[in-house]
């Protein structure tokens, strides 16, 4: 759905050159939620702004829904943007308009008739659960409500793609969860493709099908979250499930990417005559799947064979040193 290849972007600031994007390839599949995580200043916002060409990349190509945006003239680019909704960290609502007026704004831009606008606005406010606040002004809303208005506005012209720039970063944890659940629901029910950027791993864990880790203007890893969880040495896995800080020698970190019903621990103690000592364990929900994480100390003659057996049974096995 979104295919960006070889994106480069540099800013000049007081004679200094800041390379914000240094060769980013981004591939977001139709109907998935794709998260880009990284520290502040990594270039996430720049990347997102290149996807709808708010920022024109110095080099590289941006295709959204098959259309090469970098090749479009200004009128056709504006038309293409009706198909790409955007949600902003600080909401970016018009303070002079009511909730309903804000949601109607992109429809006015797109030339939708007044009657149709009214119908669509009511429908959208229902969808985000703000039907009763239609006549309120943004200043009278809570942060979470403002973001719901922002989402309703972004969805008004029925876009196929939603871009979200730290949509939950200005919100408290409970409100964040509500907004993330809403995004997930929209993704499932409308088939909406969502590209979101965030500095919070928690967001990736909660809603993303795919993810990329961004550092200094490029991706250090990217792919489906379920695949990354199977990849030894994955930074994403490591951030989602930190290793014990001071492990006893012989500790192994086991990740169950798909959960498991097999009693693997008892199988190896019996089959390979090793001792298994559980140090820590957790079961987490990642992108709708249960993922288990176990830190264990395994000792015995046939330790290596036992570890190989676990790996053969679909576990990600990492020695902790």
């Amino acid at each position: 759905m979104i295919n960006a290849v070889g994106l480069h972007k540099a800013y000049r600031l007081k004679g200094r050159r800041i390379a914000a994007l240094q060769g980013v390839d981004l591939h977001v599949r139709q109907g998935e939620v794709y998260g880009v995580v990284g520290r502040s200043g990594a270039g996430k916002s720049t990347l997102l702004r290149c996807v709808n060409l708010l920022e024109r990349p110095d080099r590289g190509e941006v295709r959204v829904d098959g259309q090469d945006l970098t090749a479009l003239g200004s009128a056709r680019l504006r038309a293409a943007r009706h198909g790409i909704g955007m949600v902003h960290q600080h909401f970016a609502l018009l303070s002079s308009r009511t909730v309903a007026g804000n949601v109607a704004f992109p429809l006015e831009i797109a030339g939708v008739s007044r009657v149709e606008r009214r119908r669509r606005v009511a429908e959208l406010l229902d969808l985000v659960g703000l039907a009763d606040r239609a006549r309120a002004y943004p200043a009278q809303l809570s942060g979470g409500q403002k973001q719901r208005v922002g989402i309703a506005r972004a969805l008004a012209p029925r876009p196929k793609v939603l871009l979200s720039d730290e949509a939950t970063s200005a919100l408290d944890p409970a409100t964040t969860a509500g907004i993330l659940d809403l995004l997930r629901t929209l993704n499932r029910e409308l088939g909406l493709t969502i590209l979101l950027i965030t500095h919070e791993m928690e967001v990736v864990k909660r809603v993303c099908d795919s993810a990329a880790i961004m550092e200094d203007g490029s991706f250090t890893e990217s792919g489906r979250v379920s695949d990354l969880l199977r990849t030894p040495g994955s930074l994403l896995t490591r951030s989602l499930f930190p290793l014990p800080s001071d492990p006893p020698p012989g500790t192994v970190a086991l990740t169950y990417p798909d959960g498991t019903d097999e009693p693997l621990m008892s199988q190896i103690t019996r089959g390979f005559d090793v001792d298994v000592n559980i140090i820590a364990g957790a079961l987490e929900e990642v992108a709708g799947h249960s993922v288990g994480r176990l830190n264990v100390r395994i000792t015995g003659e046939r330790r290596a064979e036992a570890l190989a057996y676990l790996a053969d049974n679909g576990l990600l096995v990492e020695e902790v040193r």
């Binding site: 708010l54 680019l77 943007r81 009706h82 002079s96 704004f105 992109p106 006015e108 002004y137 943004p138």
Partner: protein
């Protein structure tokens, strides 16, 4: 003191028609020059913001020229400007005397003042909202009309109020060179004939007028502000 008021009461029937006509002349000058000022100053202010480096349509040369013109207008004392544009005033209105003639220098004096205030008010508009409008596919003219101006409305109204108050005081100065209005009365009756009653009466009228404009303006600002 009571003597002073007694005298005032005795002279009031003779003073009132003069003061009333002066008030109407002042209102006439302020109203028309106010309209001209908004008609020219508002687009000028928009242009100052839009042509700026990070504006909607950056145009450094145009921006520099407009900025310079506005600064010249702002730095001239009104009394000097009035004399300087006398021939232009005659060209436009056919005379240099009376309230209609005064509208020309009043407008020229207030336009740069108002344009700068408009510029400041428009700069207050959240950049994020403008960016969001671009992301929604809005064209620049739509952003000016539907985003920039409505979002800045409270600031724009406050700017207008300030400009009208300034116009009231400028109009009194215009009276000094035959513009008519309350200023004219203060000079002709108060200053040249040493008639303190006229002097103080015009002061009171002007103060009341400014108070009225300011209070009505503040009320309006509060009405249009939804922050």
């Amino acid at each position: 003191m009571t003597e002073w008021f007694g005298e005032l009461a005795a002279r009031w029937p003779e003073m009132w028609p003069v003061l009333w006509l002066g008030t109407l002349d002042t209102l006439y000058m302020v109203l028309w020059s106010g309209l001209v000022t908004v008609a020219v100053g508002l687009p000028l202010g928009v242009l100052l913001v839009a042509t700026d480096r990070d504006g909607l349509t950056p145009a450094p040369v145009l921006r520099a020229v407009l900025g310079a013109v506005v600064n010249v207008g702002r730095s001239l004392p009104f009394i000097v400007l009035m004399v300087a544009v006398l021939s232009l005033t005659r060209f436009i209105t056919g005379t240099t005397l009376g309230p209609t003639a005064a509208v020309v220098p009043l407008s020229i004096g207030a336009i740069p003042f108002f344009a700068r205030l408009v510029e400041t008010a428009l700069r207050e508009v959240d950049r994020g909202v403008i960016e969001a409008s671009h992301a929604m596919g809005a064209r620049k003219s739509v952003i000016v009309v539907k985003v920039l101006l409505p979002e800045a409305l409270p600031g724009l109204v406050a700017s207008l109020v300030m400009t009208v108050v300034t116009l009231v005081s400028y109009s009194a100065m215009a009276g000094a060179i035959g513009g008519g209005g309350l200023g004219d009365i203060a000079i002709r009756y108060g200053y040249q004939r040493f008639d303190d009653y006229y002097l103080w009466a015009t002061v009171v009228f002007l103060v009341l007028m400014v108070q009225l404009v300011q209070s009505a303006g503040d009320l309006l600002v509060r009405r249009v502000s939804h922050r």
